[in-house]
């Protein structure tokens, strides 16, 4: 109800109706009054001239047969049908028409007010000179025909006013609809825009200039908003992307810095250990030289030597992790040959319940650098893999092929994939697997260096390594190495032909 009262159409119609209600009765009353006055004046004028003429005739009547002639005059007046009462008084006796007056109540005062007293008769008197004395002519005119004409005119006025009222109402309904329609449509469109459909156009057809202009301004406002909205969304997207990139870089940097710091530490520790190991190794070998080979002392000394050698190997691994490549100059070597060589070693130590499979691309893949480093990567990855399956058994699958890698300069990489069917890595541990000394194995089972050595070697060779793992299903390491120039030229040429 409130919505209806507040609506534009209702308000416009109300205004029109209120104006009509105030104006139309006024109009009707004024027009009626004018009509009534006009008719009344006409009637009165007519009555006056009629009675004047009658009075003039009466004046001209001769004295001899005055009564007879006067009565005949009155009869003649009555016969016109306009006069309903006539008398002449003031003479020796009162004269009246012999024609009976239809609606005459008798003696009346002069009545100059038209339409008064409800008897619909208008009385008028004239004094007529008869020699030295005067008689009074009194005539009563029938008002009813004039009253009827007035009533008819009034009813025509009323009809016209009512017709005008109805027409005004219809016009106001039509006009308010014409004005309100574009506003209502605009409102609906605005509602759609507000509810999120910002691409709903606010452009409406309307013949009203103000509505057109309002429409035009709103539409350009909407388009401006849509543009601003899109720019904002784009900006937010860009910021999100750059923020993600920044976080990514930050994480990588942190990771690299941590590894570098630990590497520096490990390098320093290794240097000291090498100094300490030197006298241990030399003295035990010196003592071993002086001891009979089959004596228990010789066996003990040999154990010291072996332990020192093991320590030396461990330090080598630590140093491999911390070192940067500055070898005597890179050489080109075959990936397939290096991986196969490492597998030959591995087959000797991998338990029988672990099956080793190698699928390598037939075409030779050449890398540039130090083959012993690749060798070590393969050994370390495979060692981790078979250890993850040593209790349950499983399959160690190596795949080697040339793959597209857009982040590398040549666009190609040697991709080595090492997959095991072992226990897998907890997702929480995955970000840490390449950190030095991080191990999930029990104390004594692993140094926690294997994967960090792998990471150090791969990144120092300009490559990258990824890991994918699912607990209970197994783990896949993918190592991407940049190809030697000879291989990347060949593959580029082949791709170009393809």
């Amino acid at each position: 109800m409130e919505r209806l009262i507040n609506s534009l159409r209702f308000r416009m119609m109300s205004v029109v109706l209120i104006v009509l209600a105030a104006l139309l009765p006024l109009l009707y009353l004024s027009v009626s009054a004018i009509v009534e006055e006009g008719y009344a004046e006409q009637f009165v004028n007519h009555v006056r001239s009629f009675s004047r003429l009658t009075a003039d005739e009466l004046e001209a009547v001769s004295d001899s047969d005055f009564e007879q002639r006067a009565a005949a005059l009155l009869d003649g007046v009555m016969l016109t049908g306009q006069v309903v009462y006539s008398e002449i008084s003031g003479g020796p006796r009162k004269l009246q028409s012999s024609i009976p007056s239809a609606a005459h109540p008798g003696q009346r005062h002069d009545d100059f007010a038209f339409g008064d007293q409800g008897d619909q008769v208008y009385y008028i008197s004239h004094s007529v000179k008869r020699g030295h004395r005067a008689v009074l002519l009194r005539l009563g005119f029938d008002e009813s025909p004039t009253l009827e004409r007035i009533a008819a005119a009034k009813s025509r006025v009323l009809t016209a006013v009512l017709t005008f009222t109805l027409a005004s109402i219809f016009v106001s309904i039509w006009l308010s609809a014409v004005i309100a329609r574009p506003m209502v449509r605009l409102q609906e469109a605005a509602k759609r825009v507000a509810s999120g459909d910002v691409h709903a156009s606010l452009q409406m057809r309307s013949g009203i200039r103000e509505v057109q202009e309002l429409n035009h301004h709103l539409e350009s406002m909407r388009q401006g908003l849509v543009g601003a909205n899109e720019r904002l969304a784009e900006e937010i997207r860009e910021r999100e992307v750059s923020e993600r990139k920044r976080l990514d870089l930050e994480r990588q940097l942190l990771h690299r810095e941590r590894i570098a710091a630990i590497g520096t530490l490990a390098g320093g520790v290794a240097h000291e250990f090498n100094n300490i190991l030197t006298p241990i190794l030399l003295y035990s070998q010196l003592a071993l030289n002086d001891t009979p080979a089959d004596s228990p002392r010789a066996r003990d000394l040999q154990r010291i030597v072996s332990a020192a050698h093991r320590a030396r190997n461990l330090i080598t691994r630590i140093l491999t992790f911390s070192r940067q490549i500055d070898s005597q100059g890179p050489t080109d070597f075959s990936m397939q040959a290096t991986v196969e060589e490492a597998l030959t070693l591995l087959r000797a130590i991998v338990p029988a319940n672990v099956e080793i499979i190698l699928n390598a691309q037939l075409e030779e893949i050449m890398l540039s650098g130090d083959p012993s480093l690749v060798h070590q990567v393969v050994i370390n990855l495979c060692t981790n893999a078979y250890q993850a399956m040593s209790r349950t058994g499983g399959r160690l699958h190596l795949r080697l092929w040339m793959a597209v890698e857009r982040t590398f300069e040549s666009g190609w990489a040697a991709l080595l994939e090492v997959t095991d069917t072992g226990h897998g890595i907890e997702s929480a541990a995955i970000p840490h697997v390449f950190e030095p000394f991080y191990t999930t194995r029990d104390v004594g089972e692993g140094t926690g260096l294997g994967l960090s050595v792998v990471h150090g070697i791969v990144t120092s060779m300009g490559g990258k390594i990824t890991v994918e793992s699912e607990v209970g299903r197994g783990t896949t390491f993918r190592v991407y190495w940049p190809l030697a120039a000879s291989s990347s030229q060949r593959v580029a040429a082949a791709a170009g032909r393809g």
């Binding site: 100094n275 190991l277 010196l286 330090i315 500055d326």
Partner: protein
Amino acid sequence: MASILVVDDEPDVAEAIQSVLEHSGFNVVAANSAQQGLAAIEQQTFDVVVTDIIMPKVNGLELIRRLRTGHPRIRVIAISGGGSFGPLSLKPEAISTHAFIAAARDAGAEEVLTKPFDMDDLLAAVRRHLPN
């Protein structure tokens, strides 16, 4: 009998090398700094000098260079504290094993051994560089 000077700022290392070499019949003098080593060279002649490279004050490379200019007949075996094989980087500015080897060879060392080396490797290296 060949005489050998061993220079290493770690007394344990210098003594161990001295013991091994003396046991094989060489005349050995051990010094714990490059200055000590240079002073010993002023007093007697040596056939071979076995010297560490990273030492405080005067380092092994400087010692080798002085020997090359002052005593060209003395053969030099440099020993480094790197890994048994492969390059080494202690700090960004530090020298890797390969850089060590290259620097020692540039300075004039005949041979470079990395610690910890086996007794036999040490003896073999010394013998290679003795006259006859």
